[in-house]
């Protein structure tokens, strides 16, 4: 399967197979008007299978979202057909308004203006907890 290379835009590569749609949703890529390609289960020498997302526009990307969904993903920024930046992401220490706390007893459930803040509680388990009520993110 061939998808054209992009001239100016972003390629999120080395996404663990199966996680591209979660990234698509959390990055809200469905609201973009440019072309967005999602390649699932592509053959990879390093990973066996991987997902790739290509965005045909130079948009601001929330790297914390990518790091939360898949810290092993890489982001390639392409301008005029050339790779100008390659970023490895890693796990962010704090997530602000990336995910919402689902604990109905959490203060964020009643005070709508509050940011939803999660902190990395355990790197080995990729465990994030709500900064307010300590509920684990799911």
């Amino acid at each position: 399967m061939n998808i054209d290379s992009i001239q100016t835009g972003i390629v999120i590569d080395h996404i663990t197979a199966g996680r591209a749609m979660r990234l698509y949703e959390l990055l809200d890529l469905g609201s973009l008007e440019c072309s967005v390609a999602i390649i699932q289960h592509a053959v990879s020498r390093k990973m066996g299978r991987k997902d790739i997302i290509k965005i045909d526009a130079d948009i601001p990307v929330n790297f914390d979202v990518i790091g939360y969904v898949d810290p092993s993903a890489t982001v390639n920024i392409i301008r005029e057909g050339k790779l100008v930046e390659k970023r490895e992401i890693g796990m962010p220490g704090t997530l602000v308004n990336v995910i919402k706390c689902k604990n109905p007893r959490c203060i964020t459930s009643t005070e709508q203006e509050l940011d939803h803040v999660f902190r990395l509680a355990d790197r080995n388990r990729a465990l994030y907890r709500c900064a307010y009520c300590d509920t684990a993110a799911k």
Binding site: I107, E111, E113, A121, A131, Y132, D134, A136
Partner: protein
């Protein structure tokens, strides 16, 4: 510098020791502290009823020579008109030098602390944290047992929903040389994340059992909590186990002579009143120690805010 205490982990082990030292000094020399907070005001913001904790904070401030502004009825406050916790904290900061707040929502105290311009003490945020209860518990153990090293601590009752239990396990786990016996019905076991974070990751030994009577002879400290009938999944289990979680003189007969019995109170029927006469019953002393620890904490936070 202004600092707040939301969770017991906001205080380092060295700070906990220093707070207990201050509390001990207040107990020994109360007159020396009678003017320590002259001219200072504590605001007690209680968005849900809690006579005991509020009065403990207020008694603490009065004994330090300070004054108290009290909000006891959320229904008559601006919160009832829809004011946010953040705005309430900003407003009350204009009136008081320190705030003690209880709120039914988890994390409310952190929101207050993030927006207040004076120190905030969490006096309970829903089922989440209640650090000053843990301070009371720690001083009780240190005073009555002489320290924390080598103790076998039994926690009995509702270990799943009991915030005081989670907080105490976290605090005691920082002392290392300690063992836990977790006594609860299957449905009310200590949550796995508490075991993982506080016990397994630090290699602290613990065992779990359903029956209190089996472990009474092993315990140095017994921390009782109430088991509510509605927490059980079925009537059969409740009937089978309910008596196991009621401490009475017969169970006390099997315990060590220097055991201490603690309870965060209020008690309903989980400790028979006949146990009150036993010198090993420490739950009313625990209340008193709670006031002294609140005095020590108010002094510390006001002192830091002024420096």
């Amino acid at each position: 510098m202004r600092r707040s205490v939301i969770d017991i982990s906001d205080l380092s082990p060295a700070e906990l020791e220093a707070l207990m030292d201050t509390a001990e000094d207040i107990i020994a020399h109360p007159a020396a502290y009678a003017e320590s907070c002259r001219g200072k005001k504590l605001a007690t913001l209680f968005f849900e009823p809690s006579t005991r904790t509020r009065m403990s904070f207020e008694a603490a401030m009065y004994e330090l020579g300070g004054n108290v502004l009290s909000m006891t009825d959320a229904a008559s406050s601006s919160a009832a008109k829809g004011e946010s916790v953040a705005d309430t904290a900003r407003v009350i900061s204009c009136y008081a030098d320190i705030i003690a707040m209880r709120h039914p929502k988890e994390g409310a105290a952190l929101v207050a602390a993030n927006n207040a311009t004076v120190p905030v003490i969490n006096a309970g945020d829903g089922g989440h944290c209640h650090p000053t209860q843990t301070l009371a518990d720690l001083l009780t153990i240190r005073r009555e047992k002489g320290g924390f090293s080598g103790l076998t601590v039994g926690l009995c009752g509702d270990l799943k929903f009991g915030r005081t239990v989670h907080s105490l396990v976290n605090a005691l786990s920082r002392y290392g040389d300690i063992r836990f016996v977790l006594i609860s019905p299957e449905e009310l076991k200590l949550p796995s994340y508490v075991k993982e974070d506080a016990l397994k990751s630090k290699g602290i030994p613990y065992r779990q059992t359903e029956r209190l009577e089996e472990v009474m002879p092993d315990l140095d400290v017994l921390y009782m909590t109430r088991v509510q009938k509605e927490r059980f999944f079925n009537e059969e289990d409740y009937l089978r186990l309910k008596d196991s979680y009621i401490l009475d003189p017969a169970k006390m007969a099997a315990a060590k002579e220097d055991l201490i019995v603690m309870h965060p109170l209020p008690r309903v029927n989980e400790i028979s009143v006949a146990v009150d006469r036993d010198p090993r019953a420490c739950y009313f002393k625990q209340v008193l120690y709670g006031k002294y620890m609140r005095m020590a904490l108010i002094l510390k936070l006001l002192g830091e805010a002024a420096s």
